[in-house]
Symmetry: C2
Subunit: 437 residues, 2 copies
């Protein structure tokens, strides 16, 4: 395929994607396929000779789409949102076209510098303390990781290296292994200090944890993977109070800020804590501008060596939505969550299981876990909407997460009517079978 | 931006990318900017109100392109290739459009199943032993990681968990920390068992290392990040002999197989070694088809939880090039490397510093390291071509890597004439200044 054919096929693909997203509501949100469905549909091995684009293209609807869970359907209320927007898609196309690998400043200066500045923009949007920003000569700064798990791992490794070095300088007689065996990582049953946990979107008390960590010389990492995006709205910013005690902070614009996966934003107060732990300097990666106030080599900030030009997505989305556009998106989702909450509260068969703070509603039928498992089963087997459950203490709970960029009040109402009807049907059978027993 | 505007802008972006790649030769391969160039060109913080696509679009040439190192220029001979092709760009657009997060089978069955089958296709293309393939009921299988570093880390962690469990079962009196302190990871100065090292593309002797590792119960991970793609050509497959002794194997189609970054292919003989080390099962990620012969939950195979639909890139590229098209690409690069090698060998001022096996030529002026550093400096300051150096033992060496998909014999000839002329100029000044001293 040459550039001329790419012009033609690329435009067909743009139309295909626009069609897909415009009409996604008409597709069944969860697929009908059984495990192993795909293998028999395609050959055993790669073709020796090239196939045409048409051949590949027609297989998208035939082979791929029947097995896709449609995360951007307005009937998808599972997990947490996966961000998606047209500006982000455009930026990702450009990222692929440029195709640079930004492991060092010299490997593509624009790739590194735009990232540093975009993380400053984003940090300012959530009013992060200035120590976390790079500015022109700050000690802190931000980086785009692939996922919150990577940010947590990076923090853990940096904290471990820092602590081992501190203890070694105090007690030179101890070996690294001696020290390693005594290190402790504190976490709740939802792990590190978390703002907006996945099961129920609960918040750790940073204002209590933070001073303790600082006093005891414990690295505090805060994971706000989902909730972090909400902090761009002044009315939710108080949830981030206490971040000033943290060493590192992370949230995922690829969850709730309309930036397609992957874009996990991480900030540290002292960039030297990361670069000290991960520095890697073979000759072929050195350049005459070595790490300084102005020059960042992001390979020292992450596990992988290579990295894509992901800050383009942030740049496009922040500019083409504007802060106000993004605030509107967050507020709409929170409003829809409260709408669902109110619908649940009006039905006395149901209960709300956790405070609705942002875009997640945890709810259940008053009754046994088995009953709620049966309800979820009937919801997900009907495949009109899609939900996943969680455990809160001993209770089996249904999670209703506002996910799609295009979800509206009508979809939420439909979802509730559907759930409510399935509950009615279920309770009828359930009581009968109870009676018979 | 709605779907209608995306149709328009997406097509403009397709044309922009096609123009960029078609005329990339006319751009200076390495940028003129100095560290910190970008920050003063853009505002201090994100705009409150949305900006238009036109505003953002015109900033690409104004702000981004002046700071881009053009990895796909046919005058780029630095590092190793970063793969790029039109079929991969199209597939990545589709990946963004679908925008699913494939951490479990249920989260998007197509995303998981296509990946498993594509890794089987790719494994067969390089004639991997059958134990590494998933098939319908194999114990092994493949996964797409973001980078070779992640594959190495995953192997190391899996090996550690496996060894700790084995030792604990043999000596229950030892704590995990006791065992950890005694674990040893063997590596050369280029790390784990490597096929095609970055400095000089050298090859470890798997047929000697492998039996030793197996005998001593040592996990053997093989990293063939760059070289692995070449094994699709029968004439290079012998370089992989000995892989049958390995526990895990990895190479990067995103380097040399025309699949855009990121796509790092990793295989293991026993998938249970990975899932045993990383298994994570909160209720919201469980589904009624739990891990079985047919069902894979890739979140247990990697550090991140989330993952994009990256196998689409492999599917598009393997089908639209065919095995023969990809073999042609590899063979062209190797041929061009030998062309450059011959040109160097005809000039008795120069020497070749390592056997040219694939697409990399290590060479230098006969003489001091300082002389060669000066030569590299004059090459990279002229910015007609771009190279990076390496150290081989005590010697400072220049690396000439065939990188671009569109590089041809004429570009290689031009590069050599240019280097040769700069060497002539340099040697003149060098001898004069030597004389004066």
């Amino acid at each position: 395929m040459d550039a001329a054919e790419f012009r033609k096929r690329g435009k067909e693909m743009v139309d295909y994607i626009a069609d897909y997203l415009e009409k996604i509501e008409k597709r069944q949100v969860f697929p009908d396929v059984e495990p192993g469905y795909l293998r028999p549909l395609i050959p055993d091995c790669a073709p020796q000779k090239p196939e045409s684009f048409e051949d590949v293209f027609k297989d998208i609807e035939k082979i791929i789409m029947p097995g896709v869970t449609h995360w951007h359907s307005p009937y998808f209320f599972a997990y947490f949102p996966a961000a998606s927007s047209f500006p982000a898609l455009l930026a990702d196309m450009l990222c692929g076209g440029i195709g640079c690998v930004g492991f060092s400043w010299a490997a593509s200066p624009a790739c590194t510098e735009l990232e540093t500045v975009m993380l400053d923009w984003l940090g300012k949007m959530i009013n992060l303390p200035e120590e976390f920003l790079a500015g022109e000569d700050g000690q802190g700064g931000g980086v785009i990781q692939g996922s919150a798990s990577e940010a947590t791992l990076i923090s853990l490794l940096a904290a471990r290296t820092k602590t081992i070095r501190r203890v070694q300088s105090e007690k030179p007689e101890l070996t690294e292994a001696d020290i390693m065996g005594r290190l402790v990582a504190y976490a709740s049953d939802q792990f590190c200090a978390t703002l907006g946990t996945t099961p129920c979107c609960s918040f750790d008390k940073l204002l209590e944890l933070g001073p303790l960590c600082n006093k005891e010389n414990i690295w505090m990492h805060i994971d706000a993977a989902y909730a972090g995006s909400a902090f761009i709205c002044p009315e939710f910013r108080h949830l981030l109070n206490g971040v000033e005690f943290a060493d590192s902070f992370n949230f995922n614009p690829h969850k709730w800020l309309l930036v397609n996966f992957d874009c996990s934003a991480m900030w540290v107060k002292k960039r030297s804590d990361l670069t000290g732990a991960f520095k890697l300097e073979p000759l072929y990666l050195q350049h005459h501008h070595q790490e300084s106030g102005l020059v960042t080599d992001y390979r020292h900030w992450q596990i992988p060596l290579g990295r894509r030009f992901r800050s383009l997505k942030l740049w496009f989305v922040l500019r083409m939505y504007g802060v106000m556009g993004l605030q509107e998106h967050i507020r709409k989702h929170v409003r829809l969550a409260h709408q669902f909450e109110h619908l649940v509260l009006q039905d006395e068969r149901f209960e709300i299981c956790a405070e609705v703070v942002l875009g997640l509603v945890c709810f259940r039928l008053k009754g046994s876990n088995e009953l709620n498992m049966a309800l979820l089963k009937s919801i997900n087997e009907a495949k009109k909407i899609h939900l996943v459950p969680c455990h809160l203490r001993e209770k089996f709970v249904l999670r209703f997460a506002i996910c799609s960029r295009t979800v509206e009040s009508t979809h939420v109402k439909f979802a509730w009517q559907h759930i409510s009807q399935l509950a009615t049907d279920l309770l009828k059978t359930w009581e009968q079978s109870h009676h018979q027993q």
